[in-house]
């Protein structure tokens, strides 16, 4: 009962307090997961169980992949206090470039090959995204122009380029190996191997983390708490793998998404680039006065966003099997919605990768569920609108009444 004690000693706090503190810190994620559970439960009953059947569960995650790549990048863009409106059309442009190359170029250059064209398509797709990111990032960071305007220009530009490439036609992108990127499945056995690798990776992470803590003189939290964490994740992954293996196996794009997400979450928390990104969004002047190279970091955030658009574009082309004039239309808003729904603050400085993924999952869950119920497209929009705004309202409410 003293307000002026210096207590940096976390050992003195009871386990229960620490547990509740950790719950409170992550309250947002838990609420979002609860929302997913509620949505799934409702659709489970309205579709008489079909919604959570292996086939649909498999499709659900496959469908959210393309926007999720964009949402992951969008988190960092919004965290710096910026916005990127070009991502949907850039991904669309990448998808038609990839389709064009396959249909008109690789086919002529390497008529008998399957693997080489797929690899070249991926590389070209990523390069197009990267270059677009470099150009937009340079204008925004070093030219000092508002991101809203630059990327709105980008959106129009990529739409125009997309129309030029397609000439108003649909271009097939269905070479067998390339199609596997978004339509392939991991065989059952390999699915279980991946599961085992994930569990081993988590355990290794726990034990090396504890060793490092001890080396620096900190007391790690009780082992069973760490193991409990691993256990919960393992059970969820197990359930997922078991379920999708009953259909065709883990979808390749879901695996890709998981790898990219882990990589990006790591970068956000454990690298200087990530820390500086959050510092810039939190207080640009203080970050500058702490020696952060603001322009350099903002530039890199947009380059990364461009590269992720490249990934999304490649997956998109593979997923739908062709490049169309409508490719990527409106994806930027889906990505922004997923990020904000996942707790990213539009004011900057706050936001997580996993939050954006849950946000994307909520949107995908609603879309597939409403489609399965054969709700008219018009009403699908109305329901999604209400849920989006209501979810953000709940989030804001909890933040104010914490």
């Amino acid at each position: 009962m003293n307000i002026s004690t210096t207590t940096f000693d976390t050992k003195t706090e009871s386990l229960a307090t620490r547990f509740f503190q950790s719950v409170r810190r992550n309250i947002q994620s838990y609420i979002l997961l609860l929302a997913v559970a509620v949505i799934w439960a409702i659709f489970f009953f309205t579709t008489h169980g079909a919604y959570l059947g292996p086939q649909n569960l498999s499709n659900l995650f496959r469908q959210m992949a393309v926007t999720s790549f964009l949402a992951i990048g969008m988190v960092l863009v919004i965290v710096t206090g910026s916005i990127d409106l070009s991502v949907g059309k850039l991904a669309g442009f990448v998808s038609v470039v990839v389709a064009y190359l396959q249909f008109y170029v690789w086919f002529k250059l390497f008529p008998d090959q399957v693997i080489l064209p797929a690899i070249l398509s991926v590389i070209c797709g990523l390069l197009v995204g990267l270059v677009a990111g470099v150009i937009q990032g340079y204008i925004i960071a070093y030219g000092g122009l508002p991101a809203f305007i630059v990327t709105l220009g980008g959106m129009w530009l990529f739409n125009g380029l997309l129309l030029l490439v397609t000439q108003g036609k649909t271009i097939a992108a269905n070479q067998p190996v390339f199609s596997d990127i978004a339509q392939g499945y991991i065989p059952d056995t390999w699915g279980w191997v991946i599961f085992a690798l994930i569990v081993l990776g988590l355990l290794w992470n726990v034990f090396s983390g504890r060793r490092s803590k001890q080396k620096y003189g900190f007391t790690p939290r009780p082992l069973y708490l760490d193991l409990l964490n691993v256990g919960v994740v393992a059970v969820l992954v197990f359930a997922y793998v078991y379920s999708v293996n009953n259909y065709k196996g883990i979808p390749v794009p879901v695996l890709l998404l998981a790898i990219v997400a882990v990589f990006m979450a790591y970068a956000a928390n454990n690298t200087r680039f990530g820390r500086y990104t959050y510092a810039i969004g939190g207080n640009r002047d203080a970050a500058r006065y702490s020696g952060v190279n603001i322009k350099g970091i903002v530039f890199r955030v947009f380059v990364l966003m461009g590269a992720l658009c490249g990934v999304a574009g490649v997956v998109l082309a593979s997923y739908v099997g062709y490049g169309t004039i409508a490719a990527g239309t409106g994806y930027e808003l889906d990505a922004i919605a997923a990020a904000i729904l996942g707790g990213t603050s539009p004011l900057g400085g706050v936001g997580t990768i996993h939050g954006a993924l849950i946000g994307a999952l909520i949107i995908a869950s609603l879309t597939t569920g409403l489609q399965m119920m054969n709700v008219q497209p018009a009403w699908q929009f109305v329901v999604k609108a209400i849920i989006l705004v209501a979810a953000v309202y709940v989030d804001v409410y909890f933040k104010q009444h914490r």
């Binding site: 210096t6 940096f8 620096y216 820390r275």
Partner: protein
């Protein structure tokens, strides 16, 4: 018949998780008096004012507050409710819309309207009436941006008075004011008192209580230590009550032994990068030695802050002169370059440029030092935590853990976080721009002691201060600035208040 007391606090207790911010606070405030409240940072002053102004609504605290004979029961979103009842706060950080006029600001949110149209004539006429009634020397049509801090504060007063405020809460009203502006403020307060308005006056500058207040209440650790008529106590009494012990000296004795010159500025001139024809520095020359504290004195607007932000690579464009660091020429183009060269800046406004308030103490301390903790791309979070924790402990930052957000800390502790982050950067020259601004007596003393420690370890410290006593009490030498140029550097023996003021105002020429 009206009660003698306009406000009565009875057994007010406010708890936060792990902390009792207010502990059974009981005292009263008389109608029409100016009531001073003092206490160290974290003593509960701000919390008490938040209870009164409705930031913490009724029911979130124990005990009761009686206002004008009735218990104050403010609900959610109750700041407006409190204002309607006549309780208004004039904040430490001003809350005006800088690009609009005085009148627009005063009537913001309550514009007189006729058929959906704002009656601007009435806005300005009424504003003028209020300004004249309370002898506030501002024009109603002036744009707030063009006013000085002192005048902006007058607008804040006018805003509160236009709501028919009966109780005005002034939270550190003088922390950003010049001496003349403080005197003007005192005059305004006396006028307000004549009009029967009750003022609650919170300040760290104890001498002000004796200029203006009728009674004074001292808080310590969330409890009321005493409430007494101001004429019955002395400054030393107040300090004693605040810290719970007798403070023998305000400035700790150091054992500093300055050695060789580490930082040398010669005839520096610089212009505003946004307006290259505006000179911000016009011939500044000084040097500072290892293990020395150099004070920089000067009036507001004399170019002190412009000087140090230019040296830090973040403001002025250097047009002439040179800077030598360890004898080598040094041309800072960014904060990063300055930091790498061993020059760090504790900025004037810690909330604006010192801290990322929405981040944790840990992230703030490590922000400029991540290179130290990184191997390839990875930040070693344990090394980061260990180094930051050690720094935070040695500076006795008061917080339950380093995972606490910087915005929740008191001013003194925030300043310690800023200093911590720079100490991890191991500076050779540490520039501190008004390091004790808005900080209470106890924390000030700790910061002085820290400055001594650093200087004894060989760091060269450059301290800007608006308080002459601080400059005189802490510095080995004093450089005085006047209108963008350095006048002269006085040794501790030569420096006294009169001499510094004469140089700073341009009365005396060095």
């Amino acid at each position: 018949m009206e009660d003698e007391n306009i406000l009565e606090f009875k057994h007010v207790t406010k708890q936060f998780p792990g902390v009792v911010a207010l502990d059974d606070v009981t005292f009263d405030i008389r109608r029409g008096e100016i009531h001073g409240i003092c206490g160290e940072n974290g003593a509960g002053k701000s919390t008490l004012m938040k209870v009164l102004s409705g930031v913490y609504p009724h029911g979130t605290y124990e005990g009761s507050v009686t206002y004008d004979g009735e218990e104050l029961k403010l609900g959610q979103s109750s700041i407006q409710e409190a204002m309607k009842k006549g309780i208004a706060i004039v904040y430490q950080e001003l809350t005006l819309v800088p690009t609009r006029t005085v009148g627009e600001n005063v009537y913001l949110g309550k514009e007189p309207v006729e058929h959906g149209r704002i009656i601007w004539d009435k806005v300005y006429a009424d504003t003028r009436a209020i300004l004249t009634q309370y002898q506030l020397d501002v024009g109603p049509q002036a744009v707030v941006n063009d006013l000085g801090v002192g005048k902006m504060q007058m607008v804040e007063f006018a805003k509160a008075l236009s709501e028919n405020a009966k109780v005005l809460i002034l939270d550190e009203p003088t922390s950003a004011l010049s001496k003349a502006e403080v005197e003007k403020l005192m005059e305004i307060l006396r006028t307000l008192k004549q009009h029967g308005i009750t003022c609650i006056y919170i300040s760290h500058r104890l001498e002000e209580f004796f200029l203006i207040t009728d009674r004074v209440t001292v808080l310590r650790d969330g409890k009321v230590v005493t409430t007494q008529p101001t004429k019955d106590v002395t400054q030393n009494d107040l300090v004693k009550y605040m810290v719970g012990r007798e403070m023998k000296e305000r400035f700790p004795k150091g054992n500093r032994k300055p050695t060789d010159v580490v930082f040398d500025v010669e005839n520096l001139e610089a212009v505003d990068p946004n307006a290259p024809d505006r000179k911000i520095l016009d011939g500044v020359t000084f040097n500072v030695r290892r293990g020395e504290i150099l004070g920089i004195a000067g009036l507001m607007g004399s170019g002190r802050t412009e000087l140090v932000t230019t040296l830090f690579g973040e403001y002025g464009m250097i047009s002439k002169g040179k800077i030598l660091m360890n004898g080598r020429e040094f041309k800072p183009k960014s904060a990063r370059e300055a930091i790498n060269a061993g020059l760090c800046l504790v900025p004037e406004d810690r909330k604006k440029t010192g801290l990322v308030l929405i981040q944790t103490i840990l992230r703030n301390i490590s922000l400029p030092n991540l290179d130290q903790f990184s191997q390839f791309f990875r930040i070693n979070s344990n090394a980061e935590m260990q180094a930051s924790l050690q720094q935070a402990k040695s500076l006795t930052i008061k917080a339950p853990s380093l995972e606490v957000l910087a915005e929740t800390l008191s001013g003194g502790n925030q300043q310690k976080v800023v200093i911590s982050k720079w100490l991890l950067s191991k500076p050779q020259v540490l520039i501190m721009d008004d390091p004790t601004r808005g900080i209470d007596v106890g924390a000030k003393f700790e910061i002085y002691r820290l400055m001594n420690d650093l200087a004894e370890k060989g760091v060269a410290i450059v301290m800007i201060s608006s308080e002459l006593e601080e400059v005189l009490g802490m510095s080995d030498r004093v450089m005085v600035m006047c209108r963008g140029h350095s006048t002269t550097t006085l040794s501790a023996a030569e420096a006294d208040k009169e001499r510094i003021m004469a140089l700073a105002t341009g009365v005396a020429v060095a």
